[in-house]
Symmetry: D2
Subunit: 307 residues, 4 copies
Amino acid sequence: MNYKKILKEIETEIQSELKKGKVADYIPALAEVEPNQFAMTITLADGKQYSVGKSKEYFSIQSISKVLAFSLAIDTYSTSLYKRVGVEPSGSPFNSLVQLEYENGIPRNPFINAGAIVVMDALMSHFGGDYAALEKVMNFTREISDNPIIQFDPIVAKSEMEHASRNLALSQLMKSFGNFENDVHEVVRTYFKQCAISMSTEDLSRAMIYLAFNGKDPISNKEFLTEAQAKRINALMLTCGHYDASGEFAFNVGLPAKSGVGGGIVAVVPNIMSIAVWSPRLNAYGNSHVGTLALQLFTTKTGLSIF
Amino acid sequence: MNYKKILKEIETEIQSELKKGKVADYIPALAEVEPNQFAMTITLADGKQYSVGKSKEYFSIQSISKVLAFSLAIDTYSTSLYKRVGVEPSGSPFNSLVQLEYENGIPRNPFINAGAIVVMDALMSHFGGDYAALEKVMNFTREISDNPIIQFDPIVAKSEMEHASRNLALSQLMKSFGNFENDVHEVVRTYFKQCAISMSTEDLSRAMIYLAFNGKDPISNKEFLTEAQAKRINALMLTCGHYDASGEFAFNVGLPAKSGVGGGIVAVVPNIMSIAVWSPRLNAYGNSHVGTLALQLFTTKTGLSIF
Amino acid sequence: MNYKKILKEIETEIQSELKKGKVADYIPALAEVEPNQFAMTITLADGKQYSVGKSKEYFSIQSISKVLAFSLAIDTYSTSLYKRVGVEPSGSPFNSLVQLEYENGIPRNPFINAGAIVVMDALMSHFGGDYAALEKVMNFTREISDNPIIQFDPIVAKSEMEHASRNLALSQLMKSFGNFENDVHEVVRTYFKQCAISMSTEDLSRAMIYLAFNGKDPISNKEFLTEAQAKRINALMLTCGHYDASGEFAFNVGLPAKSGVGGGIVAVVPNIMSIAVWSPRLNAYGNSHVGTLALQLFTTKTGLSIF
Amino acid sequence: MNYKKILKEIETEIQSELKKGKVADYIPALAEVEPNQFAMTITLADGKQYSVGKSKEYFSIQSISKVLAFSLAIDTYSTSLYKRVGVEPSGSPFNSLVQLEYENGIPRNPFINAGAIVVMDALMSHFGGDYAALEKVMNFTREISDNPIIQFDPIVAKSEMEHASRNLALSQLMKSFGNFENDVHEVVRTYFKQCAISMSTEDLSRAMIYLAFNGKDPISNKEFLTEAQAKRINALMLTCGHYDASGEFAFNVGLPAKSGVGGGIVAVVPNIMSIAVWSPRLNAYGNSHVGTLALQLFTTKTGLSIF
């Protein structure tokens, strides 16, 4: 398939949509990003990449980092992790406390905030201290991206910590149910640093290819996860990857994918490729407006949806 | 691939599990089914079928019928149907009223009871009367199954109507929000008749092949749905097809599928085949224990998961 | 105390408020009442009554009837009634299903709709048929009012039945939990007839005096309830008598009282008197705007609050 | 009335119940209290006190302190306080987050934990720092008790802070809705110190008499609250003073009252007296078993219920 041509077409077709939606403004540092940007990169099994737009521009990956941390956590804990976090869609907004209270402090899945925080808590219990666990996530990210200089943005992390009360509430609630092991503030602070990791679509697309190939990176030949673990993450991305619009996304795009409020989305075409898109303006569900559209155009043009 | 051999292997491997789980007992007529039965059928694009077990035995398809009625409804109403029923996972048990009240009487998706009932209400508004709408569903079912003698079991339907209070409550609640058009009792009674349709795995597997091939039956060459509509149903089956265990099922089986409390499950392998399994004993989530296992074995042995 | 003078003062002081608030419009037949009316009557232990305004005008007592039916029900079932209906404030709107689902079909108290319906269900189980139970409530009402010609308004009852879906949903939900004994539609229809009882403030004030005197009517010397039963009802009126504004009402008025959407409110001053007010326009909580104000003025002027 | 004799009778009659119920064990320091104790004191308008049992023994007043802090807060903020905390029963357990999330961070009333914490937050905003606000509450308590040596127990406060996660979750949730002004940990720490105030039934009974006499202490002649403010507190105690058993308590005892998990209960008989009881073992609702019983016996024997 002529991916280069297809990406060019997509870049042209999304232009008229670039000013729709609005940038996340609850995190001041994110609100300052120039909003009308776009980038898209695909990575194939042989390492070949095709990109359009600002594909080398770093942006805040935010909730996409939940996939990275969860990968590390199931590699570390295997299925015992599921005692602390579930694998089902939540049917509630990403930061609701209601379901968490009714279900005794066990978050529905690792992609809602409560679930992602408990994953960081588990990583900190295993690897010790905030720096150690964070460093593990960072190093895992650098390794799968094949980019040793990936960092988190301390200004974004600090900006988020200043609006942390909802996440602290979720954490204290889990703690009250016995589902928390480390200091609440330390875990949330570290979680925000993880969310503040900066990557380009080239990095992200490269990084996700292990999930397209059953846990084994076909470029480096490194096996990061078992086939079952990779399948689990893909199933989670498909059913829970886009908050309260996961069903809509599954229909429109038809690929396992995860979005972040920084405007990034990663997706995998099983056994074929990994994709990253970025455009900061968000739709009503908090997912990149143009990013979603670009992926939809891609699966329509290539027929590469899983359905 | 040697499907015949694979099905034989599955039939052997599930034997030791046949007595686990328990038959649905809240519907007396269903509780009387001989529990240790098993059948599995696959149908390919050329019409070829492979079966093991009691693949000609009729059983109550129950919630699998929601896929049939919803197909007819989106063919009838197109996207205007989504004003009355959503497309997102519910995160709640199949018959909860809580979410329905908070969301002003619009059910989360067409596969929870409230959603399926509103679909029948819509069909009755369009086709008139209960017999007319039911007859439409029956005829659609007969046509896609290529089996003109398919019927519903009036004893099962009557048995369900005697335990209808929860479904009547859901319906009255939707009515109080203005999301109901016909007589509540008549709609629920007709809905139960639809659920009481009796089919074999041979019928069901044959019937579902239009969903594996973008809405167009490759055997009869009839186009039942548009490609977008078929994709929508597959996305719904993947994200919402197994109540509160949809995430687990997506991981274990990795196929768009829909289960019923009669012990049946249908699944599609996009562009390749449709599958039906049946075994009456249910797991804790109300899905066929052996049926789920058989599908899991099938995707493991064939590699035909969508992930 | 010069009650006559105090009532006259109140009548004067509420004039400027008579056009505030709005008449209940979800029941068409109630919406037609001339809105700017007012009446107030007090009844003392010796039978002496003082009235101002249209105290002989009949109006629909609506939820005030819940007190009458509950009186009859605890006289019939004694404390065994509490297996089916609780005695605590609900903290939710009067017709919410959420709490009812979480609490397994046992309504919080007999003054929310679900509770009042289950009380009627219990009366029908005991007295048989809808007419028999309704006749019992009517006769009880006639006896305590000392007015044999009290009737319910069939037009109001019919009008309510046409908007019954929420109450039918509550009833079907209770039935699904096993907390319902008779035909749902028959019980709700009878319940609406009970709500449609027409009385004047003179009737209502006279009727309630048994609750001011420990269950024993000091005028007729008939004992309708035990002291404990009367205390129970007064406690319920104080904590749950005004839906989601019970705390506010307890503060403003400081008397056990029960309101209805027809604009009536009854109140008791323990060991001293019973009071009835009426004015059709309602405040934001569904309680009579001027009625609440008149009671507040009364307790302020007389010091007869329980606090 | 011969109060001395009545209290003696009560002391005798509750003996057989003294070993029923269990001491609060979620706060380790409270769990160590000798459980089979009892004390009761009444205080009349002329300052005369009658006591039975260990009426000079200090115990942890816990939630009774919410009445003291709220008195100070409405004296400070008047009705503007109601923008931050409501006055209605909650219908939920004392520490639920569900209602708080649905109602945008405004607690239902000042006697559930969220409400009491927001009251302390308001006091800290006005009086500055934790010591300053706490000192104000302590001094107010000393003044109304006429006992200058009242202290809080730092061991109890510290023990509670070690199990603070639920209260921290409530606080962070309110903060996320903008209903929190000071540092969450500092407010909760101060709140626990307030709950850890130690008083005897003689102290507490003396302290509460201003609420029995419209805000004005009849012994010292000091006016602590306006008549309306005192009425508000009495209404709140009656409708919300005993968590999810407020309706039951209103029926059984029939007095405005507030309990604490330390086993204390205070109650007021408007215009007549204030009462304090203490016995550490709690019933299923978290209220003192024998304390509730003693108050019930008292209102039965004296007829001094408000109904």
